[in-house]
Point group: C2
Chain length 350, copies 2
């Protein structure tokens, strides 16, 4: 019998950040696809769209008017899932029906006044402006006694539920720590208590030695396809220095994050020569007043595309009922991303 080979044979991998397993079926990458195709985003947009509720100076659905902003622009989400003034209370029956009131803040961050851009098409300086807004927002919201977790994220592309192509992200900040960061806290804390180093610092050291899952590096950041990636081209953006949150990044670390994000998202767009959809976001320490030395700030990119601009991975039956599942290996995905140029295809040739 052939020796066990991660590149060829079905196996499970462990995600140490969540403590959960996923299924990898490398041999299945060959299966033909006859199902639903996505519409690739190759739209040409104007720099300003008078009907866009995120463009500078425009009036939103609720009558508010956007400032004539020239960099980034933050406002309270007009349809926020969380509100600061929600009534408090709990419901409990037999330990099986359990609910508790939740409060919080929802904000929208416009990345650029330019309606036609996306992160990979923005300059490092402009992306650095986004990083600074993240830090400001984290500082402001995290300092509030009613906010114990600040989730910063971006949904990019219609296939990821994004309803406006104007480059923007969101913040959902709330009283409790949501499920995923709560799992990551448990896992990181266990590692830190045992080893005195963060889980992700130890993980990064292994990946830097092996190099096979590393996509790109700069002086302060490493982008890699994690060993336990669930989405086909999922990546993890890691600072070399174990910081707990974005406010702790130095000036040069912020510039370097902007550089890493730009280079990563250009590679993503180049992969299938399309505006590459994803959901991405920062995972940071809870803002509950504790020190959280176990927390190592990182950014997850979860992109749905699998084989082309039109064929995505569906996380459906088995994935919803059993566990996440992937076909192409993380090592292969990293190699594909590594081989791509860092000049955006739109700028590359006539």
């Amino acid at each position: 019998m052939a020796a066990f080979d991660l590149a060829q044979h079905p196996h499970r991998r462990f995600n140490p950040l969540t403590g959960e397993w996923l299924l990898v079926s490398p041999h299945r990458a060959l299966r033909p696809w006859q199902g639903q195709q996505e519409a690739p985003d190759r739209s040409q947009r104007p720099t300003y769209d008078p009907t866009c509720y995120l463009c500078p100076g425009n009036t939103r659905a609720n009558g508010a008017v956007n400032s004539a902003y020239t960099g980034t622009f933050v406002f309270d989400n007009d349809f926020a899932a969380l509100t600061p003034d929600a009534p408090t209370g709990t419901v409990e029956q037999g330990g099986l029906l359990r609910a508790e009131a939740e409060s919080g803040v929802g904000r929208v961050i416009c990345f650029s006044p330019r309606h036609d851009l996306t992160l990979p098409e923005m300059s490092v300086e402009a992306i650095r402006g986004v990083v600074d807004v993240w830090a400001e927002q984290f500082a402001e919201l995290g300092a509030r006694p009613d906010i114990n977790y600040v989730q910063i994220f971006e949904n990019k592309g219609a296939v990821m539920g994004c309803s406006n192509p104007h480059p923007h992200g969101q913040i959902w900040a709330q009283r409790t720590v949501p499920t995923d960061p709560a799992k990551e806290t448990v896992q990181q804390l266990a590692h830190f208590q045992q080893h005195g180093r963060t889980l992700l610092a130890d993980y990064l050291a292994i990946e830097l030695k092996e190099q096979q899952r590393v996509v790109l590096e700069n002086e302060h950041w490493v982008v890699l396809v994690p060993f336990w990636a669930a989405w086909p081209f999922e990546t993890l953006v890691l600072p070399r220095r174990a910081v707990q949150d974005v406010t702790q990044l130095t000036e040069t670390e912020r510039d370097a994050l902007a550089d890493a994000m730009r280079r990563l998202t250009i590679r993503y767009d180049n992969l299938f020569q399309t505006s590459f959809p994803y959901s991405a976001g920062l995972h940071q320490r809870p803002t509950d007043g504790a020190a959280h030395p176990e927390w190592h700030l990182h950014m997850h990119f979860y992109p749905p595309l699998l084989r082309s601009a039109t064929v995505r991975k569906f996380m459906v039956g088995y994935e919803l009922l059993g566990s996440p599942q992937r076909d192409i290996t993380p090592e292969y995905a990293a190699q594909r991303l590594r081989e791509l140029p860092e000049i955006h295809y739109k700028q590359a040739q006539p």
Copy 2:
């Protein structure tokens, strides 16, 4: 300040089957939707399609020929994610890179020879035939020493990654217990050890008293929108008797399951007058040789549609990074489903 009201105010709910929380934002149901629209499935299909690889008598991609089946038909998946003869082995580095070989079996179950039908359009007798196949397959696969969990499921609709509209489901059976059933085992065991009754028996008793989340009942089964539902019209199909797996169901319980599934899926189709997409599947005891008295067989339906045949719920940025989130309440969803007729809209009028 208004009293805390689950129907109006943002809150978290606890899922006792997984031990995890989700966010509910009832006030957000009013937000306008300007994003991606799905293509509703209102296709008229022939009863037999010579190009369908699931129709009776047809040749599949790998050259195998389907039998001229008249009821159900089971075959090994030609592109299975799991294979029985996979090499064994493990990979481990620093406790952070962990993988182990996985083996198993993938099968396809055709529900009917009729290419044009779906479960809600089949007779109770025909659906009962599907239940019997589930029981046969669970018995056969579960008895194998190399199979410790049998996941039976259906992806229905292109939006759920289903690449062939011929009515069919799948089985992925494997050596290890996947993430979700593993969580449910932990949670159900803790409840059983504390109370001597299954978690879902105690939960069902509460729901039958309250009635507000119950969608339909028959002598042996109850269909309800669970208090912790994440998908807009998610349901849980529960046997009144705590059985561990589908082989333990009596003849009348099997007939009654077919009746409950038919009535539920008709209501689903009637909701937006479309062939309602979903992923659904059975959760049952692991087949690891232990007795598992804590396990209470149940069926989950996870449908993506939210407001119409074309507007779905996206589980994206916040959901992938934070926790599942829903807008309409489970109570409202149950009411909507309860109010619908149990005659399929296609049969209802000329």
